[in-house]
């Protein structure tokens, strides 16, 4: 049995991109104390509005821009619900996801009926003939710019410090003159933008179109990755790469004769199984952000 390692590596980086973007977005919101279960819906909206934008304006870049705007709006919706109205975060998040997915599906049916959706101008790959390096620009931007920037911002800037304080001890942040609500709004907006970028990567880069259920649970995987990573940036990236590697591996294995007997479903489940095992192993003695799930109200 031979594994095409270079192909594996190439596929891993591509597959990991949307996961890493979404996980980063979730790291930012959860560090501020907000579990954003709207993540799946936000990714979905990113994928759909990215597709719409690209079709409308004839450019994938326009699609990406519109997806980011939609992601910010989705984040702000979560913010209104959880920060301003103090709605339970589980309810608000799942509600947001259901609402956004339904809205996208509805619009898609309205506009295109039940038929196949058109192909759109999609992003091209850089270094198309070089193995491993042949990736979308967005993948490069994600791993070389966004990830280090997020790591640096969380660790070494005032923004990151305030974010952490709001998520750990909002009373202390408030007493320090920081507006808890403003920081949480900002965190949800930025987080939403990253999640939507992850979604848009699916439609604008990987698929070049849109299909129902395009995100296929990637948002939930990202949530698991964040917990696995204990809210840290680099471990979240590592988790995303691990998931993507197993996913790429199983895609290769299903076409290898040795594995022909293994049911297809088992192979598809493999990366998720890895996530569950990783969570079970690393998920003990977790220390959640101090104000996780807690709305903040001054008394």
């Amino acid at each position: 049995m031979t594994i095409a390692y270079l192909a594996l590596l190439t596929a891993m980086l591509t597959t990991a991109t949307p996961l890493v973007l979404a996980a980063l977005g979730e790291v930012i919101t959860e560090r501020a104390g907000i579990l954003n279960l709207g993540i799946e819906g936000t990714m979905y909206v990113g994928a759909f509005t990215g597709f719409l934008g690209a079709e409308l304006f004839g450019s994938a870049w326009w699609g990406l821009l519109i997806a980011i705007v939609a992601g910010v709006l989705a984040g702000l919706l979560m913010a209104v619900l959880t920060v301003t109205l103090g709605v339970n975060q589980h309810v608000a998040g799942i509600g947001t996801t259901l609402l956004l997915i339904a809205a996208c599906d509805f619009t898609s049916r309205l506009k295109y009926g039940g038929g196949t959706l058109p192909q759109i101008p999609k992003f091209g790959q850089l270094f198309a003939d070089v193995p491993v390096a042949s990736q979308f620009l967005l993948t490069y931007v994600t791993f070389l710019v966004i990830v280090p920037a997020a790591w640096y911002a969380l660790r070494a800037t005032g923004m990151g410090l305030k974010l952490g304080a709001v998520g750990e001890n909002p009373e202390a942040a408030d007493a320090a003159g920081i507006s808890v609500a403003r920081v949480r709004y900002a965190a949800l907006a930025i987080g939403g933008a990253l999640m939507a970028m992850g979604g848009a990567f699916l439609s604008l880069a990987m698929l070049g179109s849109f299909t129902l259920n395009i995100t296929n649970g990637r948002g939930w995987v990202a949530i698991a990755l964040v917990i696995f990573a204990r809210w840290r940036v680099w471990p979240a990236v590592a988790g995303g790469l691990l998931f993507a590697a197993v996913d790429a591996l199983q895609l290769q294995l299903v076409v290898t004769p040795e594995f022909a007997a293994v049911p297809r479903e088992v192979m598809i489940a493999l990366p998720y199984l890895v996530v569950i095992i990783a969570l079970a192993v690393s998920g003990r003695n977790l220390r959640y952000p101090g104000a996780y799930l807690q709305p903040y109200r001054r008394t």
Binding site: T157, A172, D174, A175, G177
Partner: protein, 570 residues
């Protein structure tokens, strides 16, 4: 002698209305400069003389502050003046409204009415940000530090912009502020790993690093051991010498006499009077606070209340000799053992006091006794029943009542007073599968009355003042008539009246034949109540002596780790 109305500062010598003049001409980073930059004439105007005729512009002038929660009037037209360089103490019973007033000044609570003047100019303080901008710093009753962050990061929190953090400058800032109050603090220490006294220092450093001219300290000594209190007072004196005004809340009259220049007494939301400390005796202050003369519990009261003799005369079906007994108790701790073989027993009708400097195993001992930690070795029996390592539920069922030091951990903040009062006793209030609400309410009303808790049965317990929360815990425990009581720091943060009340309750339990283990850092409390005192040091009992006529000096030596023999020899 409330001077706030008569002595309005002239507007002529008022600084720019932006807030208080900066403490330092060098800017926020150059703290040592503030000693020079400060206008010495203003400081000496108030100084330790405490003269209300001082010509200095008050740092803070509160006029007619009003605040009510629902139909509870908490601040009822409060006037208060803070002069530069003075320590102004605020005294009052639990629930008098001291914390609320300070929270209003710091922008944490919105007043219903009244005017806040800072350095002579009226200011709206709608948020802590406004307060910080006006040069006000506050150390709250419950610290507001981010435990997982370092000291430096906690200081940077309020001053950082969005961009890169200059942690090196932050460390310098910590060092400079620490120097101002004459302490050393490791800027890279993670806050949650620090002792309570050290955390409080970080809180003060935080306020100072923001160039505050007004420092509010809400019960800063309630959580401190005596050495830390002395260090805090030294720091306060350094600060007032730099012209900073300190608002100081405490229930301990001795401390108030020692550190403050003037005292204002708050009773039911009104300022009763503001007097120079020099002319006020503790007895007079206590009377102003409570509205009647008070006496603390002394040994004579204890003896009058009866005790051992009474219990000895108990019927033959009396419980075994020692109601509470502990043998060879060990508990692993971080690094060294937290408990290193504690053996101890308490007879019915006896109060055994546990003295010691905090952090020597008291907390762990209480946790093990109450079933909150499992010992690595040894046994605990209550009323003859072995409860070693049992759940709290079983320990309670065996007849143990507990009042632990962390009152916030013992109540469920979101539940009401009534629900908290029955929490450990649910089976009694069951009717079929349901809880009997009427019975719970009646029970709560009776206890509220009996223990004079200032609250209604349906108030969420998180809104109660510290003292009243403690009373709820006491009521919950004592209502079950426990045969053995484990009590830890029962009067921390309680006013004089409430302290006296708790002491009487404990003596009453003793008279009724309960075995009481009293853990306290307050030696006076132990000497007044206990029959015997044992001293705990580094997880082991290093000595025992009868409380009557106990030699305080010898106790102190034993607390410092000298065994009874060598202590006596010294």
């Amino acid at each position: 002698m409330n001077q706030s109305q008569s002595d309005r500062p002239g507007r002529g010598d008022m600084p720019a209305p932006g807030g208080l003049p900066p403490a330092s001409s060098v800017g926020s980073a150059g703290f040592p400069g503030s000693l020079i930059g400060y206008d010495a004439a203003r400081a000496s105007g108030a100084g330790r003389s405490g003269s209300p005729e001082a010509r200095a512009v008050p740092l803070v002038q509160l006029r007619g502050i009003r605040k009510s929660f629902g139909d509870l009037l908490v601040n009822d037209g409060v006037d208060l003046t803070l002069l530069p360089g003075e320590v102004h103490a605020l005294l009052g019973e639990n629930g008098a409204g001291k914390t609320t007033l300070m929270r209003i000044l710091y922008g944490l609570t919105r007043p219903d009415g009244g005017v806040i003047e800072i350095a002579g100019a009226a200011r709206t303080i709608a948020s802590p940000g406004d307060a910080i901008g006006a040069g006000i710093g506050m150390v709250t009753q419950h610290f507001s530090l981010v435990g997982r962050m370092t000291v430096t990061d906690n200081l940077l929190l309020s001053r950082a912009g969005a961009g890169r953090l200059d942690r090196r400058a932050g460390r310098r800032m910590v060092a400079a502020a620490a120097e101002r109050i004459g302490v050393h603090v490791d800027p890279d220490a993670v806050v949650e790993k620090l002792s309570v006294g050290e955390q409080q220092r970080v809180e003060i450093l935080k306020a100072l690093s923001r160039d505050c001219r007004v420092l509010i300290l809400d019960e800063p000594t309630a959580v401190l051991v005596p050495q830390d209190v002395a260090a805090l007072f030294a720091s306060i004196r350094l600060l007032t010498a730099q012209g900073i005004g300190v608002l100081f809340i405490s229930h301990k009259l001795g401390e108030v006499s020692e550190i403050s220049d003037r005292v204002s007494v708050l009773r039911r939301g009104r300022i009763i009077d503001t007097v120079p400390t020099a002319g006020a005796t503790p007895a007079r202050l206590a009377e102003m606070m409570v509205g009647r003369p008070t006496v603390g519990v002394r040994r004579d009261d204890r003896d009058a209340a009866g005790g051992t003799e009474l219990a000895d005369a108990a019927p033959p079906s009396a419980p075994p000799k020692d109601v509470l007994s502990v043998r060879g108790l060990r508990l692993a701790g971080r690094g060294k053992e937290a408990l290193a073989g504690v053996t101890l027993s308490v007879a019915p009708g006896e109060i055994v006091g546990v003295a010691g400097v905090s952090g020597n195993g008291q907390t762990e001992l209480v946790q093990v006794l109450c079933g909150l930690a499992k010992p690595t070795a040894g046994t605990v029996t209550v009323n003859g029943i072995d409860v070693t390592g049992a759940d709290p539920e079983k320990v309670i069922a065996a007849g143990l009542g507990r009042i632990t030091e962390d009152r916030h951990a013992c109540v469920v903040g979101k539940l009401t007073v009534a629900q908290n009062l029955v929490m450990e006793d649910l089976p009694r209030f069951r009717r079929g599968p349901f809880l009997d609400r009427t019975a719970i309410r009646a029970h709560a009303e009776r206890l509220i009355e009996e223990f004079s808790i200032k609250a209604k049965p349906d108030d969420p317990i998180s809104t109660l003042s510290g003292g009243n929360m403690q009373k709820v815990l006491l009521a919950r425990t004592l209502a079950r008539d426990p045969v053995a009581l484990v009590v830890s720091q029962p009067t921390r943060g309680l006013d004089i009246g409430a302290t006296e009340f708790v002491h009487r309750q404990l003596l009453a339990r003793r008279a009724a034949g309960a075995a009481v283990l009293l853990v306290s850092e307050d030696l006076e409390e132990l000497l007044a109540l206990a029959d015997r005192i044992v001293v705990i040091y580094e997880g082991a009992l290093v000595g025992e002596l009868p409380a009557a006529g106990a030699d305080i000096e010898r106790l102190g030596l034993m607390m410092a780790g000298q065994s009874a023999q060598s202590g006596a020899a010294a």
